[in-house]
């Protein structure tokens, strides 16, 4: 536990001193702000402004954002040799992986919290469905955790940050667009199963509509647990190599 906390704190510190993290935050806010403004302008005359517009956009953007947040985490430790030192510190391998994951998730949560300013604006000018907004935010928060766990795994398997980012983006894209494969399958049951396996399948038709379902929470939580578990095994495997 103590080890997890110390690793977590270092990761947060790393984000706060890294220019890349601030650039990501700026891009994050610029894009979501742009989108929110657009939605607001078009909805004025047509419909009520959607409180889920930012989370819905993030469900796609995270495919590219999450790998940037996690690519450094284990790849750099390996390249600089600090992983060897971490593995000789009196902490368990799981402390290292979980501490790093929580660090990334916490930083993402901060970014997500910044976008709450749009909800404040909505409340100030209209009467949005707050339940809808809360559901969408819970959903995208979990969704973000799952994408970061995938990113962390790919950071563990290579020393090269770029490779880590590329591989995790590719994997996330498959998880994101997997539903398309379901659409060209004749078998309805199979299509349903495929859709249930994708990141999208547990977000667009539930959280994004204000629906919090146990199965969707379980999907993201399960994805996080599985990816972290595999990552721990990968980290542990360094103990067995020459």
């Amino acid at each position: 536990m103590r080890g997890t906390w110390i690793i977590f704190r270092r990761e947060i510190g790393q984000y706060l001193v890294s220019p890349v993290a601030y650039l990501i935050a700026a891009a994050f806010l610029f894009l979501t702000g742009f989108l929110f403004n657009n939605d607001l302008v078009t909805s004025v005359t047509v419909r009520a402004a959607s409180p889920a517009v930012v989370p819905a956009f993030l469900s796609f953007a995270l495919v590219f954002f999450a790998p940037v947040l996690t690519m450094r985490m284990l790849a750099e430790e390996r390249r600089e040799g600090t992983l060897e030192l971490l593995l000789t510190a009196p902490v368990r391998d799981s402390d290292i992986v979980v501490g790093k994951f929580l660090g990334a998730w916490f930083y993402y949560s901060l970014l997500l919290a910044l976008t709450l300013v749009y909800q404040v604006i909505l409340v100030a000018i209209t009467q949005p469905d707050l339940g809808h907004a809360i559901s969408a935010y819970i959903g995208i928060w979990l969704y973000g955790g799952a994408t970061l766990a995938v990113g962390l795994f790919f950071s563990a398997i290579t020393e090269n940050q770029i490779v880590a980012a590329f591989l995790s983006t590719a994997a996330l894209l498959v998880l994101y667009l997997g539903g398309l494969a379901g659409q060209i399958v004749a078998n309805v049951e199979l299509a349903r199963v495929i859709n249930q396996l994708t990141l999208q399948g547990h977000f667009v038709s539930s959280f994004a509509y204000g629906l919090v379902r146990a199965e969707d929470v379980a999907y993201y939580a399960g994805l996080i647990v599985i990816m972290l578990h595999i990552t721990m095994r990968v980290v542990e495997s360094h103990r067995w190599r020459a």
């Binding site: 110390i6 790393q14 600089e80 600090t82 030192l85 103990r239 020459a242």
Partner: protein, 305 residues
Amino acid sequence: MIEVSNLTKVFGTHLAVDSISFEARPGEVVGILGPNGAGKTTTMRMLTGFMPPTSGEAKVAGFDIFRDSLEVRRHVGYLPETVPVYPDMTVYGYIKFWAELRGMRRARRRVEEVIEQVGLQDRRRSLIRNLSKGMRQRLGLAQAIVHNPDVIILDEPTIGIDPQQVIEVRESVRALGENHTVLFSTHILSEAEQVCDRVLIIHQGRIVAEGAPANLRSKLQPHPRLYVVIGGTTPENALQLLRQIDGVESVIPQGEGFILQTQTGQDIRAAVSAHVTHSGCQLLELRPVAMTLEDIFLDIVGRPH
């Protein structure tokens, strides 16, 4: 402090460490000497709890490295061969991080103390990316000693830094030996001699020689060799002349002079000098030939025990 018995590590089909046994008492500086690839790093990695042994046992600070790995790691400070650093951290933050990760609470004072001990007090707020290689080496040493470990393991701490810094590092290792058990590896013979109370020589994963540096040298160089240059005669005559000296086993021409292979344990320099001058020739040069580590290994490994 360190008890190793029959420790073995196999990577696939490669036998990296072959059943080594040794001991290090509290307050002892033990050097592991060996050429690259001899198994020094692998041995150290097993003792730090980084990798489990294939077979055999080892206890560090009284804890078994396999069963009580976490306890072992609490009592060991380790500096790997390439100093592992986080370039974006400050000197202070880096040392504090390792102190806390190794279980120290309220580490602030101790961190300041260690920073002073390694002479980085002027750079405590600097980012590590801006430090020179020698400073990074000292920083690496600082993280290894900050939690006051019983055992300090240093993997080739003097590699790749300039001579002045090498001397500093050797002095710090000596100083550390007063309060800690230090295990350190090197492939420089003279370094091991200067710093260690005891030296283990490892070759191809096995300990081939062990002992205090002074004893080891005589054990290692049972046949001291001399290089002699003689003036005022032809090379053929000089060769004849040298062969007549008592205690000379063989004479090999080399360059403008000769290498004398002497018989076991005799210092024949006086005899050589006297013999050459009496015969009317001039002794231009006479010096012992230092054995390189490679020579020593060839000697040890090639000689039947």
